[in-house]
């Protein structure tokens, strides 16, 4: 789960990281008031779950409250890579001597948290990694010991020469690690970590992703979830216990299992179609889930056909078939449905579906090809 900059800054502040103050607002008037309360120059920053806000014009410096209001007016409602800006953060502008990058993420290959730090901050770290890999230092954190003091120091000394800055950065790296572990983060980064002309080291941007699996222990972080920032269909899917990702095609997919769901999407593409979504209904044959899945899929006006691909292993195919029949009774669906069911109790399942008037297939390729052809005709 991605959270907004202002929320990430709150987590960092709680861990002791020096982060300048800020106010999140949803109207230009509030932006003006916030700028006035801070005095001096402020920055107005779009709060959206995507990078590249700056290039898109979502981050603006304002010299006066009036200017802040004008910027907020432009930024609020702006579309950045498909995300509509609903909130802006107003924060005092800082004088910047140097910009560094400090981040920590769960690394799959070392199976541990890994810090990445670079004195070249303020830019995309992936770019630095490509153009100047020597400017990045990576330090794996042994999960048995956590971040060790000498590791934090060595990273800080890689960023700075000035002992006072090294000292401040050592502390901040430790605090960032605390925030990372306390909040089940999969990623926590400060970019840039700046040094002011007075020699103070501060975090002026913050990015955090939370491991969804860790949220059950963190209701206060779960509360950060911004439902406005995701399609309503994804919110509904999550609430129904489904994995759903909206895509741009016209073949609505409903599959059990994430791998099979991806393979089904791929096969749609293989036969010349475009999947409208990723949807994993999981192992359950609960009609409520099937209803929710169908509601979500049909709420997308682009969807021309609905494709079920169910491999009955532990899940019994006849249970799923009953669920589909039950679901289509409960909601009115005009979109044609193509169903493939195979595995446990397949014969009974096909019987149930045929009785209810559905086309039913046992081959994955056959059903996908048919559905794609149908969608192309629509």
């Amino acid at each position: 789960m991605d959270i907004h900059e202002y929320q990430a800054k709150e987590l960092f502040r709680n861990a002791g990281v020096p982060v300048p103050p800020g106010e999140v607002v949803t109207t230009p008037e509030e932006a003006e008031a916030a700028a006035a309360s801070f005095g001096g120059q402020v920055v107005v920053k779009a709060q959206v779950h995507t990078g590249g806000r700056g290039k898109a014009g979502g981050v603006k410096l304002a010299s006066s409250p009036e200017e802040a209001r004008a910027h907020a007016e432009k930024i609020l409602g702006m579309d950045i890579k498909g995300f509509t800006v609903e909130k802006v953060l107003v924060t005092p502008a800082e004088d910047i001597e140097t910009e560094a990058y400090v981040g920590v993420l769960v690394d799959r290959s070392t199976q541990s948290p890994v810090f990445m730090v670079s004195p070249e901050g303020g830019v995309d770290i992936e770019e630095v990694a490509e153009t100047n890999p020597e400017a990045i230092r990576k330090v794996a954190i042994d999960p048995r010991y956590g971040l060790l003091p000498h590791q934090a120091y060595a990273m800080a000394a890689f960023l700075y020469d000035e002992p006072s800055q090294v000292k401040q950065a050592t502390k901040i790296i430790g605090q960032l690690h605390d925030a990372f572990t306390a909040n089940a983060c999969s990623l926590a980064e400060i970019n840039p970590l700046i040094v002011t002309p007075a020699g103070e080291v501060k975090a002026i941007d913050a990015k955090v992703s939370i491991d969804e699996s860790g949220l059950f222990r963190l209701p206060e972080v779960e509360a950060y979830r911004d439902l406005d920032s995701e399609p309503a269909s994804e919110t509904k899917a999550r609430e129904a216990g489904l994995s759903f990702v909206k895509l741009d095609g016209n073949v609505g997919c409903c599959v059990n299992g994430a791998g099979l769901a991806m393979a089904t999407m791929d096969l749609v593409k293989y036969y010349g179609g475009e999947p409208a979504n990723f949807l994993d209904i999981g192992g359950s044959s609960n009609p409520d889930k099937v209803v929710a899945a169908l509601e979500i899929i049909t709420s997308d006006p682009s969807v021309e056909v609905i494709l079920f691909n169910i491999f009955g292993g532990i899940t019994r195919c006849d249970d799923v078939a009953k669920g589909i029949v039950e679901a289509t009774k409960r909601i009115d669906i005009e979109t044609p449905i193509f169903i493939r069911l195979t595995g446990t109790n397949e014969t009974e399942a096909l019987e149930i579906l045929k009785e209810a008037g559905f086309s039913a297939y046992t081959s994955m390729d056959e059903v996908v090809e048919t559905a794609v052809q149908h969608a192309a005709k629509a």
């Binding site: 491991d211 994430a258 791998g259 393979a263 195979t342």
Partner: protein, 295 residues
């Protein structure tokens, strides 16, 4: 032969009295797996009845179960909040092979649990995996046994039902399996492709290997290079998620393309570069295996 489990495996089920645990215990036992013990804290001393009426003793701790029944493998069906602890408990009790079915284990919990398992010298499969089956010998986890049959193909996969799809097609074509292993779809897992490849490579009965990967991470690439250097039998590969957009998690916690790494295209390219036959569709897996085995 087979890898990791066979008819000598003595299994303890952690969470045996739960909904999933009890269901799958019956399935595993019915398949012939030696289910020697169950663990549910607070229910030590009770027994769990199998379909054939025989009783599996329940213990409060894995340690007790190992002491009383000489269990050497465990399978975990406990809720996510307790899964990492259950894994560590099994490792601490001297279990050699631990399979964690549980989905949704916090990844930082897993980093610690994984380190602990290694420190104890045990092997973990999972979490968030369907487990494994050595057809005709034993089954640990939730893979539907009826889609498998004994034979010469080793199957390794990050997914559940996609594996069933592929295995089912092999079985229907009369091609059996030595062992089918689901390694799971989480970012941090115990046993990875290379561990399985190594085991299959050492198994004289495995004559071809199927690797089913997906987007996210670079495990498939690493595995491909390992195949190139160490594997003598033909390897057939498939990658799910060719149409997945970057930055979006496709169900599995680990199935997410971050940055430039982890795309299906990249993985398939690396497969090909390292002599792995790449299946474009699931059904191609069967055909490529047939070709490789010359049947």
């Amino acid at each position: 032969m087979s890898i990791f489990i066979d008819d000598t495996t003595r299994l303890v089920v952690q969470g045996i009295t739960g909904r999933d645990g009890s269901f799958h215990t019956r399935q595993m036992a019915a398949y012939g797996t030696q289910v020697v013990a169950g663990v549910t804290p607070g229910k030590g001393g009770q027994t769990f009845e199998l379909d054939d009426g025989s009783q599996v003793p329940i213990f409060d701790t894995v340690e007790d179960a190992v002491e009383e029944t000489a269990a050497n493998a465990s399978v975990i069906y406990v809720p996510p909040a307790f899964a990492a602890s259950a894994i560590m408990e099994a490792a601490d009790a001297g279990i050699d092979f631990i399979t964690a079915i549980t989905e949704g284990v916090p990844v930082q919990d897993m980093a610690r649990a994984n380190a602990y398992v290694l420190d104890c010298g045990a092997r973990l499969l999972g979490p968030n995996c369907p487990g494994l089956i050595s057809p005709g010998k034993a089954k640990v986890g939730i893979i539907p046994a009826q889609i498998t049959t004994p034979g010469p193909v080793g199957v390794i996969s990050r997914s559940g039902t996609l594996t069933y799809e592929a295995v089912n097609q092999l079985t229907q074509a009369g091609i059996g399996q030595t062992t089918c292993v689901g390694i799971g779809g989480d970012p941090i897992i115990g046993t990875d492709f290379i561990d399985c490849l190594e085991a299959f490579q050492e198994d004289p009965d495995t004559e071809a290997i199927v690797m089913i990967g997906e987007i996210g991470g670079t495990d498939e690439q690493d595995a491909a290079r390992w195949v190139n250097q160490h594997v003598d039998v033909p390897v057939i590969g498939f990658i799910a998620g060719q149409t997945a957009p970057p930055g979006r998690r496709m169900g599995h916690a680990g199935a997410i393309i971050s940055g430039s790494a982890g795309t299906a295209e990249e993985k398939m390219k690396t497969f090909e570069e390292n002599g792995i036959a790449v299946a474009k569709r699931p059904v191609d897996i069967r055909d490529l295996v047939k070709e490789a085995l010359g049947v």
